[in-house]
Symmetry: C2
């Protein structure tokens, strides 16, 4: 089938899906959970095929681990589905209601975005998470997973399609893409697809952002900073820096550049060096850093680099303002942390740093939808429009304005024979 | 000055502007109002120059009228500024607060988007409205008005710059662009500018959307529909259709295609024809329409046309479902109306029509920020992301996540030694 036909199918399904009630969509979610349970053996067999092929293709150990979809992982995603059913129905929520005039009431009501295209890494559990988030929020979805997970994603899509069709969810709401050509074609379908969410390497996301006529939600870079102010607690600073750098080195919310106030550098750097080197972290420092500890040389190029590796760039700064300037110049607007004891300084830092997440005295690694309590995460956005930072179900919602009248015409307000009242209504939308 | 330098100036000012409090920004607004009052004579003189030049260039009467900026219009915009100062401070509002764990609290707090580029039509009052909305919401702004208003916009910008600088607003927050080359250069400054808002003709907006690497908020087309169900009140239908088509024919929320249920067409069309022709409206009809009344022929091309003129395309449909299909196929997702007495039918229509505004028994022309009670309007968006429909101050806001900790590291939650609580907080953000 041609991609424009598949886009139209997704769009047509999205119109019907937007009209389903929360109970029906929850029934669809439970049907998926039961379908995964009933088809676990076949899913594991398909995943074994993917694993074998990937082993012969010499896929690295970390990627093989992410590709694995065994009974434990299936149970985890099923648990995730049950908790998703417990969240409130996000659709049909009245966000604003205004009494414009007698018999003329305005309601701003949440609705799905429509059709979402998601291109994601080789984790089969991501397929289920994305699909169920889209169903909960009433969006059609076209998914393209990693090539390595071909067989697993194929059976997962079939199981989800069958389970949701039986539960009364409009067919065509979920479609599985298997080729790069389909992705390329999808990126031009702006008449049918409302939002593209790419997950994966920076270069990949940059490619998608540069080649899509559809709005893209996500982040290319994750150059996160910790700034250590001169009054920071040294022991706490070492712990937070080590956690931010090493707790999971390949994540977008990992610390990449450490900024240290030069007044505290002599006390902090020697103990920090020991702690980081115990974890296998290579330190690159500017001139000031290298006067205090031995380190490789950091240049301006390092301030622009997301290592995603056991490497940390360290720069000394004369003041918090210099740290803020550095972050707003070289950062990617993702997550930046200040370590300090002074509330006023912290408040200024949090206001002036132009990033999705600004933290005080804790690890950059908290920047995550699950840790924020969103239940599930679509991704992390460094755009300032629509959704910013870790994105949960809210990021998959739009709204529409519903105006309920009784024959009103604008001419009567234009010529002054009627006047707007514009009083807030307490009522939810109802007819 | 080069545009990238001007972009950087706007961006630097935006960081400082985001840190001003609501009182300071209101003081800036009041200073603008006083500045306009004090400089009224000079502004009118500059506007007279624009008017004279435009008359010699044979600018049409409607455009000359929009270009006029006299004492009355200056008073109107001053009144608008005073009402803007009465609106609550939109910044620093806590939208969500979650207690993640003991001593670890998350706040989602509104903040400005950053730097907005606005390209708008030849109405000098729009310059003031846009500038003051951006100041109220803490955004830097680069404005490019119509060439015809060159002298007026130049003095308005100077008055605003001087007034706000004296009131403590960071310099560089507002800049006036005067050439197309500057606009072209601005559209590529995605490192400094966060959002482009184009206002003007469809072709112009389409051009901007196709040529900007920065997100664009607005609408290209406004193909709005009224669907008359078979149980609609005939008199009310005629009034609403006439108002929707003729109250202001050049607006994006004007009715372009009328869909009539074929069961009511024989009763409605003859009286509607008289009412429309009294207003000078040319009717184009499909075959069914032309069996009942004389009309020009409407083809599929008409369903895709935004006339912005005294022309109305009319099509008969066998059912509400057919009307919904027509609207979702040919519409632009702007504003669509159902006229009916049946709540259940209306509810289905409002759910299935995928448009920013879906109205019941009232005119399409209510689709407007002022009429909706937003106080002021940035524009109307047909995107389903960020802001949809008439956009007020809310559309100029983003948010950031502020996390307040006491030394917490993620490893303790990953290894199970600590557990998240994820309890809702009632507290506003504070340190």
């Amino acid at each position: 089938m041609q991609m424009d036909e598949r886009g139209k199918i997704g769009r047509d399904a999205s119109i019907l899906l937007a009209a389903t009630d929360g109970k029906t969509r929850n029934a669809g979610l439970l049907a998926i959970a039961r379908g995964l349970e009933a088809n676990a053996a076949a899913i594991i067999t398909a995943n074994n095929e993917d694993m074998k092929r990937s082993q012969t293709e010499n896929l690295g150990a970390p990627l093989l681990k992410r590709l694995t979809f065994d009974a434990d992982k299936i149970n985890d995603v099923i648990k995730g589905i049950y908790s998703l059913t417990e969240l409130n129905n996000p659709l049909g929520v009245t966000k604003l209601s205004t009494h414009l005039d007698k018999g003329l009431d305005l309601y701003k009501v949440t609705c799905p975005i429509g059709v979402i295209g998601v291109i994601f890494e080789s984790r089969p559990d991501a397929f289920i998470q994305i699909a169920t988030l889209c169903l909960k929020s009433g969006n059609s979805v076209l998914l393209k997973g990693g090539r390595e997970a071909l067989e697993t994603n194929r059976i997962l899509c079939r199981v989800i399609q069958e389970a949701t069709a039986a539960a009364g969810i409009p067919q065509g709401w979920i479609q599985n893409l298997e080729s790069r050509e389909e992705v390329t074609a999808m990126l031009a379908l702006d008449q049918y697809i409302d939002l593209i969410i790419p997950r994966g390497s920076n270069d990949f996301v940059k490619y998608i952002m540069a080649n899509s006529t559809i709005p893209v939600m996500g982040h290319a870079d994750g150059i996160c900073h910790v700034y250590v102010h001169d009054d920071a607690d040294l022991k706490q600073a070492v712990d937070i820096i080590v956690d931010s750098k090493t707790q999971y080195v390949a994540a977008c919310n990992t610390l990449e550049t450490l900024l240290i106030n030069e007044k505290i550098a002599v006390s902090l750097l020697p103990i920090l060096k020991v702690a980081l080197e115990n974890k296998g972290v290579l330190i690159k420092g500017d001139e000031g850093v290298r006067k205090i500890i031995s380190a490789e040389t950091a240049t301006e190029e390092d301030w622009k680099t997301e290592y995603l590796d056991y490497i940390l760039a360290i720069r000394l700064v004369p003041s918090m303002d210099a740290a803020i300037d550095h972050i707003n110049t070289y950062g990617s607007g993702h997550t930046d942390v200040i370590l300090s004891a002074d509330k006023d300084f912290v408040n200024t830092f949090m206001t002036l740093v132009d990033s999705a997440c600004v933290f005080w005295n804790c690890s950059t690694r908290f920047s995550d939808g699950f840790r924020f309590g969103f239940g599930a995460e679509v991704g992390i956005s460094t755009s300032k429009l629509h959704a910013r930072g870790p994105v949960g179900l809210d990021g998959l919602l739009s709204y529409k304005y519903k105006l309920v009248g009784h024959g009103q015409c604008v001419i009567d307000y234009a010529n002054g024979s009627r006047k707007f009242r514009h009083e807030p209504n307490q009522l939810d939308f109802h007819l």
